[in-house]
Symmetry: C2
């Protein structure tokens, strides 16, 4: 399919694919090399080590994402959400969860964007820091839980139609209150008890 690319680029793409699918530790150098149709030595020749390869993937994914979809992870930029962008996001989030500093930086940026977005609304949030963090984490979960999501929906969420279905549902979720104010107040009270009463 993309065998007209440089070997270096093929390795990078294969690594992003397998890292995203199996995690950083789960994808071996030999697997990646085979996926890219090169020897494992060449991988080492180009990227120095597995860590080096991962760093290169992090940087590439972050650059591509910012180039392709601007400040990604916002709902208004849904139109550019091609499978490729999905894969890059999925890789970067996976890398983040496995302790990548680049990924952590991305997360921080998501928090900044979230705060900016919050300022444009007239929502009154008691704890904006926590609010934005929860929101960011929940958005990311749509990528990390891809397998479970596909299972629940009965078809692969990588397909645009299924993906759209999932996003429609998240719109339902964010455009109306799910619990009443009384229920919320009740839960809040229970939480206060929890936070104060227990050691």
């Amino acid at each position: 399919m993309s065998s007209d690319l440089t070997a270096r680029a093929r390795i990078r793409d294969a690594a992003i694919k397998l890292f995203a699918e199996r995690g950083i530790d789960g994808a071996t150098i030999r697997d990646i090399a085979q996926e890219a149709d090169v020897s494992s030595g060449l991988l080492r020749h180009h990227f120095g080590s597995k860590e080096g390869l991962r760093d290169a993937c992090d940087e590439y994914a972050l650059n591509e994402l910012t180039k392709l979809s601007g400040q990604f992870s916002e709902f208004n930029t849904l139109d550019g959400l091609t499978p490729r962008v999905q894969q890059l996001q999925r890789y970067l989030i996976r890398s983040t969860m496995d302790g990548s500093p680049t990924g952590a930086a991305m997360f921080d940026r998501m928090l900044v964007f979230g705060n900016e977005w919050l300022a444009t609304t007239n929502l009154k949030i008691a704890d904006p820091e926590a609010f934005v963090a929860v929101l960011a984490v929940m958005k990311m979960s749509l990528f990390t839980m891809r397998d479970l999501m596909s299972r629940a929906l009965g078809s692969d969420v990588t397909e645009p139609a299924t993906w759209a279905r999932m996003l429609q549902a998240s719109l339902d979720l964010f455009s109306q209150p799910l619990i009443t104010e009384e229920q919320a107040a009740q839960a809040r009270a229970a939480l206060d008890r929890l936070a104060a009463g227990e050691e």
Copy 2:
């Protein structure tokens, strides 16, 4: 701390802890044995294999959770959310993401509970299946993204106070609409275009 337990129980607890922290593949048998202060052979003697240990942990975690907090993962059962329950949930979700059938069964149960809850409300959802799935996944994300969450909030979410802070924020999120109906309609249209127009 809990060295008065059976060796078998100590191994199980150590496995749940390390599996939750590092993932199934990331936690080695030797690490778990050392954490439980036994030899790695004893682990094999009691559980047969790493897979057997994992199965035992799955079953134990699921039983404990249903025993401790009823149908967990609902907002009204927040009071029983001790650090121990948190850890069990975190383990089970991690095991689920790494392909455990027990975990998948738990996820299915969450979907059933979600549908039942949805029936008690008077929400009109176009695609209940997707809606409930998204909701379930987002709830689970609060456990899977623990590290990022702690990072964003500046203190470990395992602490009850920080955990409560996070849940307060999620109450804010679910008790009011975050986007207006116009914004939602606009996004919906964009999604329809995406689902239909692209191959």
